[in-house]
Symmetry: C2
């Protein structure tokens, strides 16, 4: 029931946290019983909960967010299959600093923090893998702050499309990774603004059909980053 498929193993070994670990290390960290399923919309943990584990996503997507006293939500990041998160929870007085919610039916591995600590004491190399993961998260947050401070909503929107497209020139068919409202929040704007800006881009070679966005020419879209209007 909680078996790991070959594809799961591919993800595990590709993740920077586990890459380089020997099978014995991985086995010792991954308790087969610790594979859990979280249905769409359900919380995985809440801000302030005691942090007992960090997670690797096998399937689905997990949203990390903060809630204001008034109930407004700020999405900090959305993690997808193959990514790990909550490494930092190990410290911070053992409390999660954000809410985590599944935005798709998800399957995750929970890695016990206690066990991981033990493991680090035995094999310090593992600590570098953790530092590496955290450094990447840090870098991603820094970029997000840069964008929020320096770019207009329109520019962030374009940048998002360019990031989602694999290539950097030519045509691209992009499947929006989640609800438009959620993407809007990630980009620091309201859903209405997102909708309007996206329809503006139709004038610049962008077609929208539900959750599928087709960009006629990525390079031309990139030019729009500096244009006004």
């Amino acid at each position: 029931m909680c078996l790991l498929t070959p594809h799961d193993w591919t993800l595990i070994k590709a993740n920077p946290l586990f890459a380089g670990m020997e099978p014995a290390d991985i086995d010792s960290l991954i308790n087969v019983n610790a594979v859990l399923r979280v249905p769409r919309q359900q919380a995985l943990f809440a801000r302030g909960d005691p942090a007992r584990a960090l997670f690797l996503i096998l399937e689905g997507q997990i949203k990390l967010s903060r809630l204001s006293p008034q109930g407004d939500e700020a999405v900090v990041h959305v993690f997808r299959a193959g990514e790990s998160f909550a490494e930092a929870a190990m410290l911070m007085g053992g409390r999660y600093p954000v809410d985590a919610t599944a935005i798709e039916d998800s399957r995750l591995i929970a890695v016990s923090i206690e066990r991981l600590k033990d493991r680090v004491m035995i094999k310090p190399e593992i600590a570098f893998a953790m530092l590496g993961s955290m450094a990447q998260h840090l870098h991603s947050l820094v970029s997000q702050i840069e964008q929020l401070k320096l770019m207009t909503a329109r520019q962030r929107m374009i940048r998002f499309l360019l990031d989602e497209a694999q290539a950097d020139s030519g045509m691209s068919r992009i499947a929006l990774p989640h609800d438009k409202g959620l993407i809007a929040n990630r980009l620091g704007m309201k859903p209405e603004t997102f909708s309007r800006l996206l329809s503006q881009l139709v004038a610049h070679g962008v077609e929208v059909d539900g959750g599928i966005v087709t960009v006629r020419d990525l390079a031309h879209l990139a030019d729009q980053l500096e244009q006004e209007t």
Copy 2:
């Protein structure tokens, strides 16, 4: 010339990175020759530079920022005496992901990353100290993103004052930690906006005299967080 004063040692031992280390560990990491002075306005390192060290500030302040292609600056964080930064640089392919500039004449300890790596292999506990520091930075960035996405410039301004004030009620005399323009950037607004918002607050028991801000009643100011106008 590059001697460490007793006060320096106080800072070192109070820093989470070194707290808990034995003197021998600290000595092995801190090369006395590695104390450096950086005059105000001078760059410590630039984005993309190979990362050879992380730093502990003995005196002064260091600004971490990103520059846009157009030359606009986004201040990511300002570190003060006693704080360490650039832990993450150890990873990230050995490149600093931001620019670092002294905004006051500063004195710092440079901790060799190579030496630190060796040390972690010998004493894995040290890795936890690093993870702890990085977790704190992560948390601070998450809070910053939350504020940029959820609060108006006015609310960020008030929050800043409340954070700078030590207490949370009663009267407080606050010395602004740096130029108003720089604070404005930290808060994600233009200097003009900062100036205007600050003068608005005069109507709510805030007095401004150069770089000294006096708040008549912190609790009353905190109320303004929810008020409009």
